[in-house]
Amino acid sequence: MSEETLALEVRNIVKRFPGVLANDHVNFTLRKGEVHALLGENGAGKTTLMNIIYGLYHPDEGEIYINGQKVTIDSPHDAIRLGIGMVHQHFMLVPVFTVAENLILGAEPTKGWTLDLKAAREAVIRLSEQYGLEVDPDAVVEDLPVGVQQRVEILKALYRDAKVLVLDEPTAVLTPQEVEELFVIMRQLKERGVSIIFITHKLKEVLAIADRITVMRRGRVVGTTTPSEVTEQDLATMMVGREVVLQVDKAPAKPGDVVLSVQDLEVEDERGLIAVDGVSLEVREGEILGVAGVQGNGQTELVEAITGLREIRSGKVVLGGHEAPDRNPRYLIEHGMAHIPEDRQKHGLVLSYPIADNLVLCTYYKPPFAKGLQRNEEAIEENAKRLVKEYDVRTPSIFTPARSLSGGNQQKVIVAREFSRPVKLLVANQPTRGLDVGSIEYIHKRIVEMRDQGAAVLLVSAELDEILSLADRIAVMYRGKIVAVVDADKVTRAQLGLLMAGSPAEDVLDKEAVPA
């Protein structure tokens, strides 16, 4: 053990933020060519530790060793020089640049003084062939689906010849198919001697790919183990510090009146192409309709149209029996709609506002949060304190800006806000993306409760497990169309997978499962 040089080692890392001890004497080792999974609740300090390794944060105490040598990493520049690459939890790509431009940024090939974009393009092609990561070098990044954007992030690290690769929740935004592809890539990298730190909240993935597993809780390392020694349940318990129920338990649905009815809806995407192509669906009181589908098949646009964030080209969205006279979000919200958006940073929060204000974004203008033209600070604070406690948002204070919360805690703020109003229709797009198992358990429980209290729930998720465990009925979306609607208990994972990949419903499903 002692002769082996470690690719990376950190000793006694301490990092404090105002009011939080984000890393509390953390020790962590990474062997050459291993995949080391890093697990932990939301706000446990995983991203903070990685940012320290990558030179974005400066530790208050502690040491970092690379190949047995003590190093100081003051900036990402140093980290890159030392062969560390990082794919960030929230992507770090310039949206208006092409793939090739993003790849070379900061390490540009030149001919004389001139940027050698041809060489950049060739580098993309070479790397993507070498690792089987297919991307078009000339595509503009903002037009690419997240899965492809992530490939670009990985290529960026490989282009800089990373020997240590940090992947911060890379699978949170991927479809099961894409996760498989990512694992293939990770195994390839391993063979080439790259050491990988892999952060995720999905225990199945950890058991599938990791060589070793380290669990963090509240800034500390709780322990290190290997997949052969533990089960999912053990890991969940280690992370959260208590037993976690991984299975959702719920009574059969008792559907009532139709709350949301979508008729022949057509919606365009940014480029003016049809994204939602003649979709009709109904969601009733007291039921959860799950929309399954590979990302980029129109789910985003469908949700945005229903929630009033996007123009409808044709068709109708009927809420509570009558067509909304006005499709603006405030009208819809006041009529009982709650929305958990897909992109929490873009559509869910005002990042620079304190948590307390984020928690009243939909209700600030009404009593008790407003007194005439003034804000009622007391009520706003009281509301924030209650929700932060109830939803276990890990934050130093209710006045902390949403920006400095960990990804999962940002998500909890949104869920807390949306669930704190009387809800007739809940539209939830990836509601548990980036959440730890404990929080997922809690939010799933709340969604089922909401259903049992008579709310209609439209749940969009790329997570098949989530759909299968929560939904009463499942609609599969493929290329902008609903290709099948089935009862959740009459369909298997495999069948759903086929439907999502575009196999015709007649071939996949038994006759009786297809509703007339």
Binding site: Y57, S75, H77, H88, M92, P95, V96, E108, L115
Partner: protein
């Protein structure tokens, strides 16, 4: 549903070049028509167009260098004015025109550094930072201004050999004083730097997504400093143009709002050097026409209305024909490192 390929190509071609081509065609037609009718007046109008555009182009290049790196510079007016003054005074004292121009450029650069310090290091609101510079320039130049000083010469046109003899084109393009030539060259230089060098790529990245640039080891603060300082130098050159090339003396508030028009020109030019150049020429042309109309004096329109011409024409053409552009995403936002 699908359009035939050739048709689609045409559409694409038209979308990219259509506006430029149609404007160019109209402009050329008009120029030839008038040249045929009265060559002397046409020549004068075109030459004046180019000269009017010089401070605007330089100012716009200053603005766009800053904004491409996400620093809004509304202090261009002040940078020009101060540079015009310093350049003039140096010329009065030393009689050396080249040295005077250099000092003007340096003045602009120093004020650029001041703006960068305020907005990048101190993270003061950038509009306030720019306003400080404007007020400073108006105050200082007004206070130290002395009546009756006269410059020792001014920058004269340098005809470029036989090129200057070509009818129409010669006198307009190839018989100009040095800063005018320089401004044209600089349009190409800035375009090259911004879109064809590593520095330009980094600048644009810093303006769009500074954190992403930071994670790639790019020094966001350095990029912003350098761009704002170089921009300041260009604004300084514009100031030197006014006092040492166009007029040959200094007057109170002689920039007369050109620094702000330059910002409009930058926006109409969609934050690109060539776009800005086109917009500046258009504005220069309208100004030249206005002067011409007032000289002609045959029109019975109050001169105030004629004076509006440049602004009206600019608004109509640019609002009508040039689509909306997207400013750099991080424009105006100070960058904070975390941890």
């Amino acid at each position: 549903m699908s359009t035939p390929a050739s048709f689609a190509n045409w559409k694409l071609f038209w979308k990219r070049w259509g506006i430029g081509l149609s404007i160019a065609a109209v402009v050329l037609a008009v120029i030839f028509y008038f040249y045929a009718r009265s060559p002397r007046v046409t020549e004068a109008v075109l030459a004046s167009t180019l000269r009017q555009s010089v401070p605007l182009v330089l100012g716009a290049l200053c603005g766009l260098l800053g904004e491409r790196a996400a620093v809004i510079n509304i202090g261009i007016e002040g940078q020009m004015l101060m540079a015009a003054y310093v350049g003039f005074m140096v010329n009065v004292r030393t009689g050396n025109l080249l040295f005077a121009v250099l000092m003007g450029v340096l003045t602009g650069a120093v004020l650029g550094a001041l703006l960068a310090f305020m907005s990048v290091t101190l993270k003061i609101d950038q509009i306030i930072g720019g306003t400080v510079i404007n007020i400073l320039a108006i105050g200082l130049t007004g206070y130290f201004y002395q009546v009756g000083l006269s410059a020792q010469g001014k920058l004269n046109p340098i005809p470029l050999g036989p090129l200057a003899k070509i009818p129409l084109i010669g006198p307009v393009l190839f018989d100009n004083p040095p800063i005018t030539y320089a401004s044209i060259v600089l349009v190409f230089v800035v375009h090259y730097v911004l879109f064809h060098t590593p520095w330009g790529l980094r600048t644009r990245a810093v303006g769009e997504h500074p954190r992403a640039a930071d994670t790639l080891g790019i020094n966001v603060y350095l990029v912003r400093y350098v761009n704002v300082i170089v921009g300041g130098a260009l604004a300084g050159l514009a100031g030197a143009y006014l006092s040492l090339e166009a007029v040959g003396s200094f007057e109170r508030n002689m920039t007369n709002g050109r620094g702000f028009v330059a910002l409009a020109v930058m926006i109409f030019g969609k934050w690109t050097p060539f776009g800005a150049w086109g917009a500046a020429l258009l504005f220069g042309f309208a100004t030249a026409m206005q002067t011409q109309l007032q000289f002609a004096g045959k029109l019975h329109i109050p001169h105030q209305f004629i004076g509006m011409l440049p602004y009206l024409l600019t608004i109509v053409v640019l609002a009508g024909f040039v689509g909306r552009a997207r400013p750099p995403a991080a424009d105006g936002i100070p960058y904070e490192k975390e941890g």
